[in-house]
Symmetry: C2
Subunit: 241 residues, 2 copies
């Protein structure tokens, strides 16, 4: 059984310090995970690394842990962003979870012409990203931006960050070729179900910091395309290599 | 709006032929998709390609279509198999759907020591694979095997089919390096939540047709690992390249 591992929002973790756990997480540890004083759990705050912590006091509303030792140094994921058009709820959840596991640094919900217009709840996305970070043993948490239209996003885009967009029309270069020269910082943009519209594609193709990427002839669902592209990038340019 | 596209179980499709659609699919076309005589749909049978078909008669129980023209030649996906340990229901569904989209030729539910012992329903898996094939415009359907234990599966394994297993212990070679020389026919094996047990890993490492593959230091969920590995393979050795 792997040790319980939680993200705690605290300005600093260091050995010897006593840290207060939030009410929500205290409830989780006490009621759900049946933790008792004397047990130890792993904690990380997204900037100081991961620590083995000893539960000093615990009840359903509060918990204090004492930081015993450092178990992992802080390390950021590679500087890869994922821009994706919000999908139906389950599929969006899926993209957030998988992108976190695969080591995305920043997720930007990006509104395109054909994107689902459901309200984007960045706070819910962040909660999912935190949970996935706890699971996959990241010591950082992906940044989640508020939703932004593709047009507005690109108005202030830093041209040093290359933008790879997935092109379903068959006009993109093969992903394996493209990613041979796709060092960070960069970003991957995935359209919604139904793809980008023609004007968006035209616009994207004209920019000098973009490149169209192709992933074969089968039609991939948006979430499949997102996960696949990120995996390919990590395997070639990222921290799998 | 993309044309409706359905898989039909018929021994042969050819231009001019009239084909009977099953009761279940007639119901779907008539009641759900509101199709009428005169409409046209795309049909494929998994071996003759894809055809534009004209609805001659339709009601809630039966439907006949006339085959008008061939819209796609038959083409098989690359000879890549996916062996995966059954997961919780939703995650298994997910693996079947994504593996189909990504172009897996054969899926083998493989029982390992730590695999969930829920009954594996190959018929349900096949229904999902068919639906995903319809969506992603494959003209073939992945083969779904009955569940088999890893031990029994490897007893009769064809050694010409290299077997790449995902090794979470950090002892695998980097996936991008391994797949540089991983031409079909081959197979990818993904363990269950919790991974392979020590004995399984020892056993797998000893075989002369296997190789351990590593995908970084973050702990990937089994379904994430499966999708990611298949995407990496398609991008290097498969039909994305």
């Amino acid at each position: 059984m792997a040790k319980i591992r939680i993200f705690i929002e605290t300005s600093e973790i260091s050995i010897g310090k006593v840290v207060n756990i939030s009410e929500k997480q205290s409830h989780y540890l006490f009621n759900v995970m049946k933790q008792k004083p004397g047990n130890s759990i792993l904690c990380f705050n997204g900037k100081d690394g991961e620590f083995d912590c000893h539960i000093e006091n615990i009840n359903k509303k509060s918990c204090q842990v004492k930081v015993l030792s450092k178990t992992k140094e802080f390390e950021s994921v590679p500087d890869l962003w994922l821009l994706f058009a919000p999908l139906k709820k389950d599929n969006t959840d899926f993209v957030i979870e998988k992108a976190t596991e695969l080591g995305i640094k920043k997720i930007i919900p990006t509104i395109t012409q054909r994107a689902i217009s459901e309200k984007v709840r960045a706070d819910r996305f962040l909660a999912q990203a935190i949970e996935a970070s706890e699971q996959c043993r990241r010591v950082d948490i992906p940044e989640i931006s508020d939703a932004v239209t593709l047009e507005n996003l690109l108005k202030t885009w830093d041209k040093n960050r290359k933008l790879y967009f997935l092109d379903e029309t068959g006009n993109g270069r093969k992903i394996h070729q493209v990613f041979q020269n796709a060092a960070a910082p960069c970003a991957i943009l995935v359209g919604p179900e139904g793809g980008f519209d023609e004007k968006e594609l035209e616009f994207l193709r004209k920019l000098d910091y973009t490149e169209a990427v192709g992933m074969g002839k089968r039609i991939l669902r948006a979430e499949t395309a997102a996960v696949s592209a990120v995996a390919c990038w990590q395997s070639i340019c990222g921290d799998w290599n």
